[in-house]
């Protein structure tokens, strides 16, 4: 409700500034055609809006970032709380209590009187801060508008000024991608460094034992936490391998059929149906794997006397393979279709059948692209989360048996980070180390795949 009100008020402010800027320049204009203005009158309005809104908005953002910190300091230092001998996280707990009481989420009468006063102070500070912010915002907006009106005259190059601002906005937006990558790399590396300060790199990369549950108390037995990630990497590879065993042949053969044999009508009906497979949310595949496929495999295994875990790698791998089919097939389809017709016709001219042409001419010619598409599919499989979270196991077994339960990098990230967490324990930090490994591996696969595909495309263009 307040959000709606504030945005409405903001829109009114914008409209007002536009109107004022526009009327002003029109009034200052001469009798010459177009009022003797340098730019169209709307640009002067936009100029006024920019001056009015941009500085005020920047100030508000700064305010909103600084406000919680300052209020926290004032509340904690001013309320006569005894915080001197408290650890950082205890202080955080107390502060959270204060906030909850102030928000009415917690019954105030049960709390310590010092905390009660602090909560009152907190809410009064918050309302004061809000009012102050409003006043400052309006003040800066008015000041900006005033300055803009000072500058506006018919000779002013308003269009250039406005367009320059818009251009900076566009550049800023296009840099979001870089900021995102930087953010990912920075946050992963930062947390991973903290993890490696507690657990040696060699143990993480080459250790054979993974049991990240840390002891709650130091005297607890048998839960010291071990962070050897080899079983996890092995499990990830096993499941990805199983997925590729499904996706590669099915995807490739359907791509070949679609590109070489299918009539246009067949193609235009079947291709979208295959693409549906890529559009189904992965959580649905996870549910399907856990509820339907895993019991079937288990039942089948038992009927032929095999011991199959109920969260077998096979179930997750099979379903993941189905999910990846469209990635392989549509990419390979593009690559196969891009092989020049002269190659095909040359082969037919020598008397080869269609399948011989495909196997001996088209496939080798398209091979780099096909490899690229397979690599992209592998990177999909490694990074896929929900299917394995729902259908693969949690225990880190080092095995190559697809009927056993294994765990993967993504499963471990989810289990380590979902639920209550302390941000300093190696347990949560380990998730970021795994995330970094995942990021690097998929990045390398993608770069190689894109390189291969692009290089190949250039050959025939």
């Amino acid at each position: 409700m307040t959000t709606l009100l504030i945005s409405l008020a903001f829109l009114v402010l914008v409209a007002l500034a536009f109107r004022i800027g526009r009327t002003r320049v029109v009034r200052l204009g001469t009798d010459a055609p177009g009022g003797g203005l340098h730019s169209l009158p709307g640009y002067y309005g936009a100029y006024a809006v920019l001056w009015c809104v941009v500085p005020a908005l920047i100030l508000t953002v700064v305010w909103l970032i600084a406000e919680p910190v300052i209020i926290r300091d004032m509340v904690l230092s001013g309320a006569g709380l005894d915080l001197a001998d408290m650890a950082e996280n205890q202080v955080n707990l107390v502060y959270n209590d204060i906030k909850n009481i102030a928000a009415g989420l917690k019954d105030a009468s049960l709390a310590d009187p010092a905390i009660q006063t602090a909560a009152q102070q907190y809410s009064s500070l918050q309302s004061t801060s809000f009012m102050a912010m409003l006043v400052v915002f309006l003040g800066v907006a008015a000041l900006g508008l005033f300055l803009a009106l000072q500058r506006i005259n018919p000779k002013m190059r308003a269009r250039q000024a406005v367009e320059r601002t818009i251009m900076w906005l566009l550049i800023g937006c296009s840099c979001v991608a870089i900021l995102t990558t930087a953010g990912i790399v920075m946050s992963l590396i930062f947390e991973t460094m903290r993890f490696f300060a507690k657990v040696p790199v060699t143990e993480f990369l080459f250790g054979m034992d993974w049991s990240p549950q840390m002891a709650l108390r130091s005297d607890q037995v048998g839960s010291s936490g071990a962070f050897g990630a080899v079983p996890i990497f092995a499990g990830t590879m096993l499941i990805s391998f199983l997925a590729m065993m499904v996706a590669a042949p099915i995807g490739l053969y359907s791509a070949i059929y679609m590109a070489e044999y299918a009539t246009p009508r067949f193609r235009s009906t079947v291709k979208p149906m295959l693409e549906i497979l890529a559009g189904i949310p992965t959580v649905v595949y996870g549910f399907f794997a856990a509820l339907t496929v895993a019991p079937v495999i288990r039942g089948f295994g038992q009927s032929i006397g095999l011991d199959v875990a109920s969260e077998s790698a096979l179930a997750a791998g099979l379903v993941m393979g189905v999910m990846i089919i469209p990635f392989v097939s549509s990419l390979s389809d593009d690559v196969i279709s891009a092989v020049p017709h002269s190659l095909r016709e040359g082969s037919y001219g020598l008397g080869a059948t269609k399948s011989e042409t495909i196997k001996q001419v088209i496939f080798p010619a398209a091979l780099p692209g096909i490899v690229g598409s397979l690599l992209l599919a592998v990177s999909r499989a490694i990074g896929e989360t929900m299917i394995v979270v729902m259908a693969a196991g949690l225990a880190a077994n080092l095995t190559a048996n697809p009927f056993q339960a294994v765990t993967t990098v993504t499963v471990q990230i989810v289990t380590l980070l979902v639920g209550d967490q302390e941000f300093d324990s190696p347990k949560t930090l380990a998730a970021f180390a795994l995330g970094l490994v995942l990021f690097i591996v998929t990045l390398i696969l993608n770069i190689i795949a894109l390189r291969v595909v692009r290089k190949y495309r250039e050959q025939y263009d």
């Binding site: 970032i65 919680p68 367009e163 251009m167 566009l170 550049i171 937006c173 296009s174 979001v176 991608a177 995102t180 990558t181 953010g183 990912i184 946050s187 992963l188 930062f190 099915i250 490739l252 053969y253 359907s254 070949i256 059929y257 044999y261 149906m273 295959l274 497979l277 559009g279 189904i280 949310p281 992965t282 959580v283 649905v284 549910f287 856990a290 509820l291 189905v322 089919i325 059948t353 269609k354 399948s355 011989e356 196997k359 990177s379 896929e384 989360t385 929900m386 979270v389 729902m390 993504t410 990230i413 989810v414 980070l417 979902v418 998730a431 995330g435 995942l438 990021f439 998929t442 894109l450």
Partner: protein, 429 residues
């Protein structure tokens, strides 16, 4: 002499021809086989797809109905709806059950009470509070049955099993049969599934809370990713000089498109929650994370759309004296907009189905309330599906499938609208 030579020649020829014929036959058989492999592969993929849909629909269809029990409740005139609490309504329901089966021994009463849902009192409370004038009358009301009873009525619990392996005991089955004979138990359309929030009791759980959470999350995603994506695409396609910096941006966008979604969740956790201190479990943060995830899709689609606008339009506008920004704003953007919208819808469909990054930022909490805004704690449809799929109760299986059907319906609608938009506005130059 010549005769024999000719016959040997003819025989040789015959042999050669039959060899060639055999060879050709083998080659054509290989051709046929190869062709059939392709068909088999496509068939396998389509079979997997139809199995998936079939299991979901056959599991989920029954969730549209919920077993309800007709209760006769005496609301004495001494009762005051203002002061009545949960326990008072529970007593009323228990009393009504005892009246229906007067000769149940005291020790079996607990089993009898378990026929009606644990949370049925809440519906009674709402009914009475909405109609205070009912006090003093005896009313008839349909209340939800417990999930085990519901499963029995739908045939998911096998009556033939030994009693100890069944979640419903023989006595309860006898009572239920008696209710069936009296027409006092019936499967009715399950409106709760569409109108209520999550609940620990399957019979009361609905996905309205998750759907609203998804709505807010997508709203935030759309509000951020569409303008940013279009602006970035316009800059890169129309204005950017060819240099190292723009190359870097392009490489980044292409790579981000292939980064596993869970990594975006890690970014959201480390950056938005721990660094900026934004609230956990909020659609606002979820929307921001999904924005970063869908931006590459939108930027790539928007650039393709801008690229397809012919240069002659730009040149004509420039020739009329428009500035470069005016050319883009007045002429190129409107022509490219349908393509951009199509890309955005596809990106939104991706975001709607995404689960993993949202788990990282705490949108997996159990939340019974329907969120009222983008900063309230909320969950989204896929996460709700994940949570229900993890619940042990048998009755959640059909509800999970029903939620999946709803989610898929949304996705299909979005993709269809993208296809229609493309068909309607696509221009070939």
């Amino acid at each position: 002499m010549t005769d024999t030579a000719m016959t040997t020649e003819a025989i040789k020829q015959e042999e050669r021809q039959s060899k060639i014929r055999a060879n050709l036959k083998a080659r054509h058989a290989a051709e046929k086989r190869f062709r059939s492999y392709g068909l088999v592969a496509i068939g396998a993929a389509l079979l997997a797809l139809s199995t998936l849909f079939f299991t979901i629909i056959s599991n989920g269809a029954s969730a549209l109905f919920q077993t309800e029990v007709r209760m006769t409740i005496q609301l004495d005139s001494t009762l005051d709806p203002e002061t009545m609490r949960a326990g008072d309504y529970q007593i009323l329901i228990k009393k009504s059950l005892r009246d229906m089966f007067p000769d149940v021994a005291r020790r079996d009463r607990k089993d009898l009470y378990a026929v009606v849902s644990n949370g049925a009192w809440y519906e009674l409370l709402n009914h009475v509070q909405a109609n205070p004038d009912l006090v003093g009358q005896t009313i008839e009301i349909w209340l939800p049955a417990a999930d085990d009873v519901d499963m029995l009525m739908k045939g998911y619990i096998d009556r033939e099993l030994p009693e100890s392996d069944r979640r419903v005991n023989d006595q309860q089955i006898a009572w239920i049969d008696a209710l069936v004979a009296n027409d006092a138990i019936e499967k009715k359309f399950n409106t709760r599934l569409f109108t209520s929030g999550d609940s620990r009791e399957p019979e009361l759980a609905g996905f309205a809370g998750a759907a609203v959470g998804s709505f807010y999350t997508l709203l935030v995603t759309l509000a951020l990713s569409f303008p940013i994506g279009v602006a970035a695409a316009v800059y890169l396609e129309e204005f950017a000089p060819k240099n190292k910096w723009t190359d870097l941006i392009e490489v980044n966008i292409n790579n981000l498109a292939a980064v596993p979604s869970i990594v975006f969740g890690l970014l959201g956790l480390a950056l938005f929650l721990n660094w900026f201190g934004l609230p956990r479990s909020a659609p606002l943060v979820g929307g921001m994370v999904l924005t970063l995830m869908t931006l590459p899709t939108i930027i790539i689609a928007s650039r393709a759309s801008l690229k397809s606008v012919p240069p002659s339009i730009r040149e004509a506008a420039l020739g009329m004296g428009a500035s470069r920004l005016q050319v883009v704003g007045h002429h190129v953007l409107p022509l490219a907009l349908p393509g951009m919208l199509t890309g955005t819808i596809i990106g939104m469909a991706q975001a709607l189905g995404e689960t993993a990054p949202l788990l990282m930022i705490g949108m997996v909490a159990f939340i019974a309330d329907i969120p009222g805004g983008p900063t309230d704690p909320a969950t989204v449809m896929p996460v709700q599906i994940y949570l229900w799929a993890d619940s042990p109760e048998r009755a959640f299986v059909e509800r999970t499938s029903a939620a999946i059907m709803a989610l898929l319906a949304f996705l299909i609608a979005m993709n269809l609208s993208a296809v229609l938009l493309r068909k309607r506005f696509e221009r070939r130059w």
